[in-house]
């Protein structure tokens, strides 16, 4: 925005604030029990229905997901229009920020986060003036290039009109200010929060391309180390990891890239589709490059979109050869090992592919939600199908982080290890004495070399599951014997 006027950028803002929730947009659900084959088939037939639980444990909400992406933009500020408790996740994003800045050789500074700290008085009389005051505070403290105002259950229920306040503030300050409709109650699929954040970026930040940079590839991701370079640079392509650790200036230019892809198809589905639809940046629709087959397929699609077809085959065979011996050793090491995956789709699906390539047998899995389709609507991007061509009949469930259900299920399946994503859940698994492999760096297993990195990490953990053993002996789970003897999905009701 530095050199452009507010009115100029306003003429390009084509979107409305707000995004439809995934339940309506993508037919997403949080309850299912069956097999991958069944879920793929029902999803494609358009008959997938939500099933609700008659008992639930604390989940996560859209606000968490939206803020995670936005709070790591280095020169923006996030204002959470909410009571102070909704800021409980601020210290986590701050740690991600400082930790990631260190890994990227950026100077460390706290994440730029403000809460309007809504009180009972505010819920009665309204608090849009507080939003304005918070925007001023953000501006004088940080001189940000953009401000995001995230909504909350409370601001949504009391009917705060964020748009008119934002419009006033934009006029006054001359920077883009976006509302983010991530009210927790709106969706049981917390991934809706990613969409809300990306919608705000598409609505207020991204600009039409003035030049094209076909070699730049937008990669929608979290906070992992840049292993994408291993796959892209040999092809003459440059990874542009978004949104964490970018600047507003970088985000303005996403329209210049040669393609958009993502480390997890459910993370950036809305964003990638929006960039393609509105700015003509093609989306790589194949499942992300985890595991041999998906990496091959993803690289070929990427090469075809970016005009690198001639060199890609040589690269693929060279990379496959480079890891062949080590991979064989790992497969030998893992012979007979049975794994269960508990994670969000589609990164969970990617983990499943990786495990199978490492010679580990998949004996079950639960994903935190399921999208019947992705925003691009093309079944080539079906990550569940890609991950389970070898394991379509295994037990598969959709469960939004319900520890009671997971624990009950794992006691029956008795895997040798559980791959687990999402904080707070690993200890429930570990209390069963099962090695709980929590890998926060989502890029660790990426591509061909990632198989070896990931395999070595898991191999180390399997050699010494002392934490799990100690927990099993000394720290009981908080569930009754009655429950542990019920069927694991007995709280999963019929169609909503």
């Amino acid at each position: 925005m530095a050199t452009e006027t507010l009115s100029e950028y306003k003429t390009v803002a084509r979107r409305e604030p707000g995004v439809a929730i995934r339940e309506r947009r993508l037919g997403s659900i949080t309850g299912f029990v069956g097999t991958p084959d069944e879920l793929v088939q029902i999803s494609r037939s358009g008959r997938l229905q939500e099933r609700e639980r008659s008992f639930t444990q604390a989940g996560t909400c859209s606000s968490f997901c939206a803020t995670l992406q936005l709070s790591l933009i280095q020169d923006a500020v996030v204002i959470n229009h909410a009571p102070a408790g909704c800021a409980g996740d601020f210290p986590m994003f701050n740690l991600y920020n400082r930790y990631g800045q260190g890994k990227r050789s950026l100077s460390r500074a706290s994440a730029r986060l403000i809460t309007t700290n809504l009180s009972e008085h505010d819920t009665i009389f309204g608090a849009t003036e507080k939003v304005l005051e918070a925007i001023h505070k953000a501006y004088r403290t940080y001189h940000p290039r953009a401000i995001f105002v995230t909504a909350s259950c409370t601001s949504g229920i009391i009917g705060e009109d964020l748009e008119s306040v934002i419009e006033r503030a934009e006029e006054e300050l001359g920077i883009p200010i976006a509302s983010v409709n991530c009210e927790g109650f709106r969706s049981q699929v917390w991934a809706t929060g990613w969409d809300a954040a990306y919608n705000a970026i598409l609505q207020k930040i991204v600009r039409p391309a003035k030049t094209k940079r076909p070699e730049a590839i937008n990669i929608i991701t979290f906070i992992g180390e840049d292993h994408f370079s291993e796959l892209l640079r040999p092809l003459g392509l440059i990874p542009n990891l978004i949104v964490p650790f970018t600047t507003v200036g970088q985000l303005e230019k996403l329209s210049e890239a040669g393609a958009t892809t993502q480390m997890c198809s459910t993370l950036g589905t809305y964003f990638a589709a929006g960039l393609e639809k509105e700015y003509g940046v093609p989306e790589i629709k194949s499942p992300p490059p985890y595991g041999l087959a998906s990496t091959d397929r993803w690289l070929r699609e990427l090469a075809s979109v970016t005009g690198k077809t001639e060199i890609v085959e040589q690269f693929i065979s060279a990379e496959r050869n480079a890891v062949k011996l080590e991979l064989e050793k790992l497969q030998e090491r893992f012979a007979g090992v049975k794994a269960f995956v508990a994670a969000g789709p589609s990164h969970g699906h990617s983990s499943m592919e990786v495990l199978q390539d490492l010679g580990i047998e998949l004996v079950g899995s639960c994903m935190f939600h399921h999208d019947a389709k992705l925003d691009h609507g093309d079944s080539v991007g079906d990550t569940l199908r890609a991950a389970t061509t070898r394991s379509g009949k295994m037990p598969y469930s959709v469960c939004n982080k319900q520890a009671f259900e997971l624990v009950n299920l794992l006691r029956r399946i008795k895997p040798d290890l559980v791959i687990i994503r999402h904080p707070s859940l690993a200890v429930s698994v570990a209390k069963l004495g099962i090695p709980a492999c929590f890998i926060d760096d989502e890029h660790l297993a990426l591509g061909y070399r990632g198989l070896v990195r990931y395999g070595n990490k898991i191999s180390d953990w399997l050699r010494n599951p002392a934490i799990e053993r100690t927990l099993l002996r000394n720290s009981p789970l908080p569930y009754t014997d009655w429950w542990l003897n019920q069927q694991p999905f007995s709280m999963l009701g019929g169609e909503a």
Binding site: A84, G85, N117, V427
Partner: protein
């Protein structure tokens, strides 16, 4: 209107879920949005010293995860279903239903529903902890008062039994260690402390003993006062309010003397205990004195606390009166109710004869940073939270996290209370400085 906060240090009343999780075998049941339990666990439990979820916190927290349907049509049916099943699934002795913003705003009658279960003999209570009602310390008081009001019956007084209302579980990162220290100190006087939260505190049975106490001890600047007042009204139990963190030699002895006098325990026992504790404290003080004296020339001599009022005054008094440091400026971050503010300000004014400290009531980083940029002429010691690392660096100071949120420390049983708590804080502080300078 509450103030806007850059980098909040206290969360909301629903943070009372952590006080429930701190009672042995107690199960929190949230009638709240889908993200509340996890966000509060994150801010108070995990990303605050990595305290974790324990038995019934973290992923185990029961929650109705109120969604659009409950907002539009009401969430009472959903709440009944979740409580019915929680009583079957969760292995606990005490169930506390906490309402969040959503269910309170849409007007669910959670109180009535919970009372129906209680009338059937279920050990279950209701706490109205919508986030907009106040901060985590307020939520802690609401939870304790809910259990007191809804479950406790009068009991015959047991001489020497004392209920302890002190560190707010999880919000005070060192609560478990601190409460263990209080137990040790009161036991040393011959009292029977009823600690109520944390390991070996007795769970529901200990809570049922509350009305039998000889007195309640509120060892906190204000959090817990409403509990003691409530207990006084309901059971006539007298209470002693000691508002300053007893830390180090002088402050801990002062605390023990006051409790001994109030509780009228055996003076000889108390004196013997105090002398033994002081001997131990001064043994280490004397040995470390070589270091204090010979490195003083190049060590920061001024300190800043950015902490709640309980810690702030106690730590300031110990650093000033025993370790020869000088208070620069202190920040009170726990938004104390108006009635307590003047005594808190006086506490800072009278740290030592001729030594006082200015105090600002603020949890807002912008305000804290502005003041520090003005007052810090020489690099100070900054005792605050992770949010204060940047300003500490900017003014050349040395930073130690002693307050929430805390992501640069792993905290287990560490205590900053009592004689040993004082030694521990000094160890941590100077270890941090020594790491910083090398």
């Amino acid at each position: 209107m509450t103030s806007i906060l850059q980098h909040p240090r206290q969360l909301c009343a629903l943070g009372g879920q952590q006080s429930v999780a701190a009672i042995e075998r107690a199960i929190p049941i949230l009638h709240a949005g889908p993200g509340c339990g996890f966000k509060l666990h994150t801010g108070l439990g995990s990303y605050n010293g990595f305290q974790g979820g324990g038995y019934s916190g973290g992923a185990a927290i029961v929650s109705t995860n109120t969604g659009e349907k409950e907002v539009v049509f009401g969430g009472e049916g959903r709440l009944r279903s979740v409580i019915d099943n929680a009583l079957k699934i969760m292995n606990g002795d005490l169930f506390v239903v906490l309402s969040g913003c959503t269910s309170e705003l849409v007007g669910d009658d959670t109180e009535h529903i919970v009372s129906e279960y209680r009338q059937r003999g279920v050990p279950i209570v209701y706490a109205a902890t919508a986030g907009f009602r106040g901060n985590s310390a307020v939520g802690h008081e609401i939870v304790a008062n809910a259990i007191i009001d809804q479950l406790l019956e009068p009991k015959e007084v047991i001489p020497g039994l004392v209920n302890v209302w002190s560190s707010v579980p999880y919000q005070d990162t060192f609560w478990a260690g601190n409460l263990a220290s209080v137990r040790e100190l009161l036991s040393g006087l011959g009292l029977k402390p009823n600690i109520l939260f944390g390991p070996n505190s007795g769970g529901l049975e200990a809570w049922k003993q509350i009305p039998a106490a000889q007195f309640n001890l509120v060892l906190s600047s204000w959090a817990g006062v409403s509990i003691a007042r409530n207990l006084n009204k309901r059971f006539g139990t007298p209470w002693l309010h000691y508002p300053t963190l007893p830390i180090g030699g002088i402050e801990t002895t002062r605390f023990l003397r006051e409790v001994q006098e109030y509780a009228n325990t055996d003076t000889t026992v108390a004196t013997r205990f105090i002398q033994e504790q002081e001997r131990n404290f001064h043994y280490f003080f004397e040995r470390a004195a070589d270091f204090f004296l010979e490195f003083r020339w190049d060590m920061p001599g001024h300190f800043v606390t950015i902490a709640d009022s309980f810690y702030g005054i106690g730590v300031s008094r110990m650093l000033t009166n025993e370790f020869g440091l000088l208070p620069l400026h202190q920040f009170v971050t726990d938004d104390p109710p108006e009635e307590f503010r003047s005594s808190i300000t006086e506490g800072y004014a009278g740290i030592a004869p001729g030594i006082s400290s200015n105090v600002t009531f603020s949890a807002d980083s912008e305000e804290v940073n502005e003041v520090l940029r003005k007052v810090a002429t020489a690099p100070p010691i900054v005792l605050g939270s992770i949010w204060d690392r940047d300003i500490a660096q900017e003014i050349g100071g040395c930073h130690l996290s002693i307050a929430a949120p805390m992501t640069d420390r792993l905290v287990m049983s560490c205590s900053y209370l009592g004689y040993n708590g004082g030694l521990r804080l000094i160890e941590d502080l100077y270890s941090s400085i020594l790491t910083f300078v090398q």
